[in-house]
């Protein structure tokens, strides 16, 4: 193809003189645009260009605003304005004229007008509102081209709030006789779905019709919507799996018109889209996956032409195969396919090969071994992108044995890297690996020092935070603890003696803190020496004032002895008059505390870091002071938001004379329903940052760091890996692969044979990089074992090396037998899947059934909340059986017992069914949630099915949407043999979402010494968090005006008797626990809150048989989520 365009002459000015050239015949050389372009190319300096364009813009501006300009001239002017904007000069004066042109022009003029609008404005631009009417008119036009133009612009940008205005027209187009119109209408709906999913919820069945459209183009377009919807909720579309498979079959077999072929491959875009959809549907779902196996194999087989497009399909195919429920033959074929990518000489394919490997090694680390030669070559690749992707791959296969080599490679890359994004990302990964797998103290401290120096001030703040937390919390072994701190102190002292001015601020802060806390541990180190080093930092110009604060605090902790105090005094003198108040305060503290030894010992006791601080957050000790001040006439304190509100009200008041008086009751709501007002207000709210909700997200996740370190890092010394070790470890299990890697490249790559000398180096590198992977390979066919869970094993107890090898040995002995039994068991299940008799038959093999989920990794279980169960009928039910794996069914007998373990205080409350979540050889985890009036409690049951007591079970929960807090004293439990340990957690909503999920890890140590972990996830609908909010009508009115996030939708009311509004609200009240504030005529106002205290208000109005519902809340997304549940509640009724 490039030859075709190769004809382009590179030197522009020389070409312009050749008017007879084939390309330039079409140039409108006499046009004004032509003149402008030519003018620009003749210029030599940027300055001249600027002058010329400014002149041009001035003339355009004059002409567009002249009343005599015809639409045709306007079109020409618009094209020139677009050109100027493309060159980077602003032409905002023309935006309004672009809209006018789209409105008033005919055909091509309109087309240019729409184009200019779509290039000039974005969907949040306020002028776009002016386009709504034009779009409405054109959608109703009898001219197909005009309808097309309107649909095209709508699919690119449309104001969210105006969607209801055109939705019926767009929907209507789904049945248009012309396929191009249907296609564009589907894409417009796709766009609506992306920006406002609630608005198009009611037309889901029409999407199905589009999917069955006889025109392949329309069907392809509908897949965009399906991909999106299935990604969000795969459970809802399992019934379509077979249809998608059939479509793919037809495409692959070449049943589509030839038009859709691309380089003789049938409809590649369609194929890829379908493969992505199938991957979502088959994930964690064996029965759906089984439907796909045939067509996936067929796709792999068919893709034989050596062209990019074939590889694109293959890549998607491989990803799909590794995402869905595994089938060993397919995996083998896919693995071979990855080999073709990785070994390709084409750099783009090599890159994708690495990317695919990175994706699959999490499930099958053996694959990395097969390609070690290539991976090592890629590590030294001149293209940084390849190098970067290789590091990503290595990151995924890191273990305790190869961590040193891999981290060294990453740091090497980081030192030469200039891109901030990459630095932030890689530095985080190095820190993660260092904390997880550090072989010894020295290495850890040195690595972290490099991380801090390289990461500089751009890195994520939680890296230094978790590092300091790790140091301060210490480990179980006091001696190790001391050694680590000592080493840190030593290395930081020597850093400060060097050139501390070059170190980043964050690192200096870490150093000061460590020296302040722990320098006393090094007895021979004089406090005065430390103080001088710190004081030197204060004198360095580049030190920021934040760092200076840290330094002063550190000095306060260490100042001791005559010399020390005098150094401190000197510093105090300088900074007690500093303009920076924070510094001045620190200096004052230093001054006082350095002089009063006893006070200092009391305020800053040594080793206090590990003891929890008691904080009186209500500041009750100040009560006396406050009441005195109030008595003396001080104004009472108002919190920030209250002051803001009053300020805003004060402003609103000044507007009063010009507008109608606004009463604070519900009737004002109706006043504000005019479209412009509504959209302007919500547009504003969209732009303003939502402060209150984002607060929690930056808090560092530090949990568990301590334990990883404490028990793993030090007790076992992993020697630097020798080659002989490697042979020993990988020898028996891995010999075929190892040989392929070490003795020379695999047979497909005869060209890669390197010369002996570098070969040896590479071999050494290979052995150090890939050590520890081989032993797991025997497990890989079982599913997704060890490697996937490795990342989460931060909390694992016990020494890394012994645990991993020990467990592997025990596991691999089990695996052989359970693999055979696996099939057997599945058969049993299949045949009995609906009958209750499955339970007893499975109970005969309890040991076996409990093994299964462990082999399949964490299994996601749909929560059995009543809401979910009621509405989604049999679909979800069936799938749950499959997804939940056999074990929980087998343990049915035990499940009944769990309810007996439900804490007594919950006995009277309503709780969900107890659903099994995950289990392994020794532990079964189940959970349910209990609705309390002011909270929602998640109760987790852990049943110890082994014969030995488990002394410490550590349960940790995390969630993106929820705030999880532990009820009771500690999350650590003990489980005696054959008994149940119960943990309670209180959940509140942090970030609203239609469904929320909690993921958890149970880690524990068996008496035998191996550490284990079980992972699970628990899903529940937002409705479980809704509680009534009792407010008066007046309060409601005030709140309504304050809330910035809203959504509106028409719902179908419920008609039981005479009063549909009342009936509907009663249903909502009953199902969603809303509080009905007042009903006035055809309008009703309702309020609720989402735990803990996120209010949401609803206003509904019955009009012409439809219920228009308007939801408002200060919390973003909450109105949308609630709207979804209201709609569901009404539909189910």
């Amino acid at each position: 193809m490039s030859d075709v365009v190769e004809k382009t002459l590179t030197a522009l000015p020389s070409l312009l003189s050749l008017d007879s050239h084939s390309g330039s015949t079409k140039l409108s050389s006499s046009s004004k645009l032509g003149n402008l372009i030519r003018g620009i190319t003749e210029l030599t300096s940027k300055h001249e260009e600027e002058k010329l364009i400014q002149r041009e813009l001035a003339s355009i501006k004059e002409q567009v605003s002249s009343p005599n300009t015809s639409m045709r001239q306007m079109k020409e002017l618009m094209v020139r304005a677009i050109y100027c904007e493309m060159l980077g000069y602003e032409a905002s004066f023309s935006y309004i004229h672009a809209i006018k042109l789209a409105q008033q022009g005919t055909a091509l003029e309109k087309r240019v007008g729409y184009l200019a609008v779509s290039l000039f404005l974005n969907e949040s631009h306020e002028l776009l509102l002016l386009l709504v009417n034009t779009v409405l008119k054109d959608l109703q036009s009898t001219n197909l081209i005009e309808v097309c133009m309107a649909l095209t612009v709508v699919s690119q940008m449309f104001p969210k709030d105006m969607i209801p205005a055109i939705l019926p027209l767009v929907e209507e187009k789904l049945t248009h006789p012309k396929e191009i119109i249907r296609r564009k209408a589907v894409l417009a709906l796709y766009k609506f779905y992306l920006i406002a999913p609630n608005q198009v919820q009611h037309i889901h069945n029409k999407f199905r019709k589009a999917l069955c459209d006889k025109d392949p183009g329309v069907m392809t377009a509908s897949l965009h919507i399906y991909l999106q919807m299935i990604q969000e909720n795969p459970e809802g579309y399992k019934d379509l799996t077979a249809s998608f498979v059939t479509i793919l079959k037809q495409v692959v077999a070449g049943k589509l018109p030839m038009d859709f072929n691309y380089h003789s491959v049938p409809a590649p875009w369609l194929q890829i889209q379908l493969l992505r959809i199938l991957a979502f549907l088959g994930k964690n779902d064996q029965s759906s996956s089984e439907i796909m196996y045939d067509i996936l194999e067929e796709s792999l087989r068919r893709a034989e032409i050596n062209h990019n497009i074939t590889y694109a399909i293959l890549y998607e195919c491989v990803k799909c195969i590794y995402t869905i429920h595994p089938k060993s033959e397919l995996l083998e074929k896919a693995a071979k396919c990855i080999g073709n990518f990785v070994l390709s000489t084409k750099i783009n394919l090599k890159y994708l090969g690495l990317k695919a490997l990175t994706y699959v090694v999490q499930q099958d680390p053996k694959l990395a071994l097969q390609h070690q030669v290539t991976i090592i070559e890629c590590l030294d690749h001149p293209d940084l992108i390849i190098k970067r992707e290789t590091l990503e791959l290595l990151f995924r296969i890191t273990n305790a044995q190869n961590v040193a080599v891999i981290v060294e490679k990453m740091l090497e890359f980081l030192r030469g890297n200039k891109d901030d994004y990459t630095t932030i990302d890689l530095v985080g990964k190095v820190a993660e690996l260092a904390e997880k797998y550090a072989p010894n103290n020295e290495w850890f401290i040195e690595t972290m020092s490099t991380v801090f120096s390289v990461g500089g001030d751009t890195m994520q703040p939680d890296i230094p935070n978790s590092f300091l937390k790790l140091l301060s919390e210490g480990f179980d072994s006091v001696e190790e603890d001391r050694k680590l701190k000592l080493f840190a102190v030593d290395s930081y002292v020597s850093l400060l003696q060097g050139e501390p001015g070059k170190l980043p601020q964050r690192f200096l802060q870490v150093i000061s803190w460590v020296l302040g806390e722990y320098s006393y541990l090094r007895g021979e180190l004089d406090a005065a020496t430390v103080l001088r080093l710190l004081a030197k930092l204060l004198d360095t110009k580049s030190t920021s004032s934040e760092t200076k604060s840290w330094v002063l605090m550190a000095m306060t902790k260490v100042c001791e002895g005559g010399v020390g105090v005098s150094v401190a005094q000197e510093v105090c003198e300088t900074y007690s008059s500093s303009l920076d108040t924070a510094l001045r305060q620190r200096a004052q503290e230093l001054q006082h505390l350095s002089q009063d030894r006893d006070l200092r010992a009391k305020v800053l006791p040594r080793e206090a870091g590990s003891e929890p601080l008691e904080v009186d957050s209500s500041l009750s000790f100040l009560d006396g002071f406050v009441s005195e001040a109030l008595a003396a006439g001080a104004a009472p304190y108002k919190p920030h938001h209250q002051r803001q509100e009053e300020l805003a009200q004060a402003k609103a008041l000044s507007m009063e004379p010009y507008g109608l008086p606004i009463s604070m009751s519900s009737c004002s709501i109706a006043d504000r329903q005019s479209p412009t007002l509504l959209s302007v207000s919500s547009g504003l709210s969209g732009d303003s940052p939502s402060l209150s909700q984002k607060g929690g997200s930056t808090t560092p996740k530090l949990d568990g760091v301590k334990r990883v370190w404490g028990r793993q890092g030090y007790l076992v010394q992993t020697e630097p890996v020798e080659e002989s070790d490697l042979v020993e470890v990988t020898g028996p299990l891995q010999s075929p692969n190892q040989q392929a890697g070490a003795d020379g490249p695999p047979s497909q790559t005869p060209t890669l044979k390197p010369t002996p000398q570098p070969e040896q180096e590479k071999q050494q590198l290979a052995s150090s990089l890939f050590v520890g992977l081989g032993s797991q390979s025997s497990l890989c066919l079982m599913g997704k074992p060890e490697a996937t869970t490795q990342r989460f094993r931060r909390k694992a107890k016990g020494p890394v090396l012994s645990s991993s090898t020990g467990e592997q040995i025990s596991n691999s002995s089990v695996s052989a037998s359970s693999m055979a039994n696996n099939l057997l068991c599945n058969d049993l299940l299949d045949s009995n899947i609906t009958s209750e008799t499955a339970a007893p038959s499975l109970e005969q093999t309890p040991q076996l059934s409990r093994d299964l989920p462990a082999a399949n990794g964490a299994c996601a279980v749909e929560s059995t909340d009543r809401d979910v169960k009621e509405n989604s009928a049999s679909l979800i039910g069936d799938n749950r059986l499959v997804a939940a794996d056999p074990a929980p069914r087998g343990d049915r007998g035990k499940l009944k017992d769990f309810s007996a373990h439900l804490p007594a205080e919950f006995s009277g409350l309503c709780h969900s069914d107890i659903s099994p979540l995950a289990s392994n050889q020794s532990l079964d985890v189940s959970a349910c949630h209990v609705q309390k009036e002011d909270s929602l409690v998640l109760v987790v049951f852990m049943y110890n099915s082994s014969d030995d007591a488990i002394p410490h079970i550590l349960l940790e929960l995390r969630s993106d949407e929820l705030e999880v807090s532990c009820e009771g004293d500690s999350p650590v439990e003990e489980a005696r043999s054959r008994s149940v340990a119960v943990c309670q957690y209180s959940l509140t909503v942090k970030k609203p979402s239609v469904h929320v999920e909690v993921a958890g890890t149970v880690s524990y140590q068996l008496p035998v010494g191996t550490s284990q972990s079980v992972q699970f996830s628990y899903k529940l609908p937002l409705t479980s968090f809704i509680r009534p909010l009792t407010v008066s009508t007046e309060e409601y009115g005030t709140m309504w005006l304050d809330f910035s996030h809203d959504t509106k939708q028409k719902l179908t009311p419920i008609c039981l008797g005479q009063e549909p509004l009342m009936d509907t609200l009663n249903v909502l009240k009953k199902k969603l626990k809303l509080h009905v504030v007042e009903i006035i005529g055809m309008e009703g106002i309702v309020a609720c809150r989402v735990l803990r205290d996120q209010p949401c208000l609803m206003h509904c109005r019955l009009h012409a048989g439809a219920l228009s519902v308007w939801l408002r809340s200060p919390v973003p997304d909450l109105p949308d989520c609630l709207m979804y549940h209201c709609q569901r509640a009404l539909q189910e009724h």
Binding site: T106, Y262, A312, L352
Partner: protein
């Protein structure tokens, strides 16, 4: 797809299409940085780039660079073929397209792009159908012209 840029070897922007709402300032900054990064790459290097939190896929045709930003889960190779299909469409429409065609008729290039990609997703992958749609719209313009001139009179 997040956006598509066309620029020349000299770094001059020839076409820009943004599928995500961004401010003009951001757009300019992104364009400047990306043009610099891509132009600095050597011919034998990979056509994919990690750039900020996006993936950039680019390809050079004669003196023009076509450059698309996609998300991480998207397929890089198929994006490369999207670029190629677009070039094929331009080539068919203009009849061996060259950079000058795109400079002087950039609005046409935009029309073709809008018929091929809509809202960042491939709308129609059949070459014939896309060109038919464009031709019909072009034809309409011819039909309208006489009417229009009558109006003026």
């Amino acid at each position: 797809m997040q956006f598509m840029l066309l620029f020349s070897r000299q770094g001059k922007l020839r076409l820009q299409k943004w599928y995500v709402p961004l401010s003009d300032k951001e757009k300019k900054k992104i364009t400047r940085e990306l043009v610099q990064t891509v132009l600095a790459r050597k011919p034998k290097m990979c056509s994919f780039l990690e750039w900020r939190d996006l993936k950039v896929v680019y390809k050079r045709y004669a003196s023009l660079y076509f450059c698309c930003a996609i998300e991480h889960q998207d397929n890089e190779l198929i994006t490369l073929e999207i670029i190629h299909r677009y070039v094929e469409l331009l080539d068919k429409y203009f009849g061996s397209v060259c950079e000058l065609d795109i400079i002087f008729n950039f609005e046409k290039a935009y029309f073709i792009l809008d018929e091929f990609l809509l809202g960042g997703e491939p709308q129609e992958t059949s070459k014939k159908t896309v060109l038919k749609a464009i031709e019909q719209a072009d034809l309409l313009q011819e039909l309208y012209r006489p009417e229009r001139s009558r109006d003026v009179k």
